[in-house]
């Protein structure tokens, strides 16, 4: 059996990668995918904790998170389509109307 902390460190690594993706990338689609990656890193940690404490409640949480992720993707992508129609671009740097 692989020790649970290994899973947790992996989860942290994935989460950090997702954060880096949101910070570095200027492409809205890739930023959005990085957010999905962060959600999944969280899921992995929850599953690991669930295994550690020998309760299946964590599985239920992940089930609900997956549903929320699906809803979020539908709405988020609709927003991206709207933005693209207005700006002809998905470069996050170009959406700076409120800056000046």
């Amino acid at each position: 059996m692989v020790p649970i902390p290994h899973f947790l460190i992996l989860s942290a690594l994935l989460f950090a990668t997702g954060t880096a993706g949101v910070i570095i990338s200027r492409n809205l689609i890739i930023m959005f995918m990085s957010i999905e990656l962060m959600l999944n890193a969280g899921n992995l940690a929850i599953i690991a904790f669930s295994r550690m404490n020998n309760v299946v409640d964590g599985h239920v949480f992940v089930f609900l998170i997956l549903t929320v992720a699906a809803a979020e993707a539908a709405v988020g992508l609709a927003i991206i389509i709207m933005i693209f129609r207005n700006k002809e671009s998905i470069n996050a740097d170009k959406f700076s109307l409120l800056k000046r």
Partner: protein
């Protein structure tokens, strides 16, 4: 070194490599591909944690629905990824990497505390049917029935919202033309 440990390190390496490749790609379709690879590796890890059911759900929901949606949007908007080529090296961008790195180190420090003897000894043995469909469903439909029903409303709202937003305004279109 048992087979299990080998599989763990292999899957973990693939998951992280896929994630890193995903954020470094310019071509969004390749990016989606790397995310799929990363998610499949994560599903293998779920299986190692005896969450076979949730692992299958992860594949169905992500590979079957969410990432297909991403691919559809990329294709509808026809994003071939040339747009960002010139602005790759901008000052100050690399420095921002510090934030996730610091975050990661912090979490590792916390996990080290967690891995101290009393907690680490736990959970070597669980029931054979741990994480089976029956067990998860039992919890889901008894204790968590209300949140479960709420997610159906959430999904309905999301569907309506997505359709309303992504639909072209017919009146406006005619005015423009």
């Amino acid at each position: 070194m048992t087979l299990e440990v080998v599989i763990f390190y292999f899957a973990a390496a693939v998951a992280v490599a896929g994630a890193v490749m995903m954020i470094l790609q310019r071509n969004p379709v390749a990016s989606v591909m790397y995310l799929v690879i990363s998610l499949v590796a994560q599903a293998i890890l779920y299986v190692q944690l005896q969450a076979l059911f949730i692992g299958a759900l992860l594949i169905i929901v992500y590979a079957g629905a969410i990432l297909v949606l991403f691919l559809f949007v990329i294709m509808i908007l026809n994003l071939r990824g040339e747009e960002f080529r010139n602005e790759k090296h901008r000052p100050g961008r690399a420095a921002k990497i510090i934030i996730p790195v610091v975050f990661f180190l912090e979490v590792v420090a916390i996990i080290k505390q967690l891995a101290a003897p009393p907690a680490a000894g736990r959970a070597t043995e669980v029931a054979a049917d741990f994480g089976s469909v029956e067990m998860v469903a039992g919890r889901l439909f008894r204790e968590y029935l209300f949140p479960f029903e709420l997610t159906s409303i959430l999904l309905l709202v999301a569907i309506v919202g997505a359709v309303v937003m992504a639909k072209r305004d017919k009146g406006k279109k005619e005015e423009e033309a």
